[in-house]
């Protein structure tokens, strides 16, 4: 079975641009969460979606937004990119949206902002 997949693998953007990152959860999983991992730090929670509704939001500016589609895949959008947005963006999926369910992480998208 395929695990969590993310695209693209790597991305280079310049300041002020917009970026869209994509995530496909494990088949049957209905919850998707996004994390930002800056070099040398642990991942930071950005969003959680379950059944296409936002379940949680971390301490990130409004430039960050996300959505979940009927097939449970998800997009993370970041507007007006800043140098500090350079990071590894991780997507995690789980069967349901509660903490009881193990989360499975994808390999991430490495975003570099120049």
């Amino acid at each position: 079975d395929a695990g969590v997949t993310q695209s693209p693998t790597h991305l280079i953007k310049t300041r002020g641009q917009h970026v869209t990152l994509r995530c496909s959860p494990i088949s049957g999983h209905k919850s998707v969460s996004w994390y930002q991992q800056v070099l040398g730090q642990g991942p930071q929670f950005i969003f959680q979606y379950y059944e296409k509704e936002e379940r949680g939001r971390g301490n990130f500016p409004d430039r960050f937004s996300a959505r979940q589609f009927p097939n449970y895949s998800s997009e993370l959008n970041v507007n007006a990119l800043l140098l500090g947005d350079s990071a590894l963006y991780l997507c995690a999926s789980s069967l349901a949206g509660t903490g009881y369910n193990e989360q499975f992480f994808g390999p991430g998208t490495r975003l570099t902002v120049l």
Binding site: P43, R55, G56, G99, E102, F105
Partner: protein, 116 residues
């Protein structure tokens, strides 16, 4: 607010010797704690989790961790390190286990090096 602290950013051991990675937590109530491992260019993988059942938790690949409320600790151990254990390890707490969200709060990570 809940948090976890990993004081050691780097730990180096020799193959075949014990591994000890430290983690201390801060929580206003009984937390749910996890250890995740991140190998280079691979996704995070759950090693083990504590959810208020047995205080000694066994995970995959021979790792285990003991929840000590009196010390607010959840240290990760393994009796004998293998070269394949070289990776970054994260101690994690969830503020809402059993609730409506599955938000995870990660520590800063410990990079484990295993010397031959």
């Amino acid at each position: 607010a809940q948090s976890v602290t990993q004081l050691d950013s780097h730990v180096s051991v020799s193959e075949g010797t014990p591994v000890l990675l430290s983690c201390n937590y801060s929580s206003s109530y009984s937390p749910s704690l996890f250890w995740y491992v991140q190998h280079p260019n691979k996704g995070l993988q759950l090693l083990l989790k504590y959810t208020s059942a047995a205080t000694l938790v066994k995970g995959i690949n021979g790792f285990e961790a003991e929840f000590k409320k009196s010390e607010t600790s959840f240290h990760l151990t393994k009796p004998s390190a293998h070269m394949s254990d070289a990776a970054e390890y994260f101690c994690v707490v969830t503020p809402d286990y059993g609730g409506a969200t599955n938000k995870l709060i990660f520590g800063t990570g410990t990079l484990l090096a295993v010397q031959p």
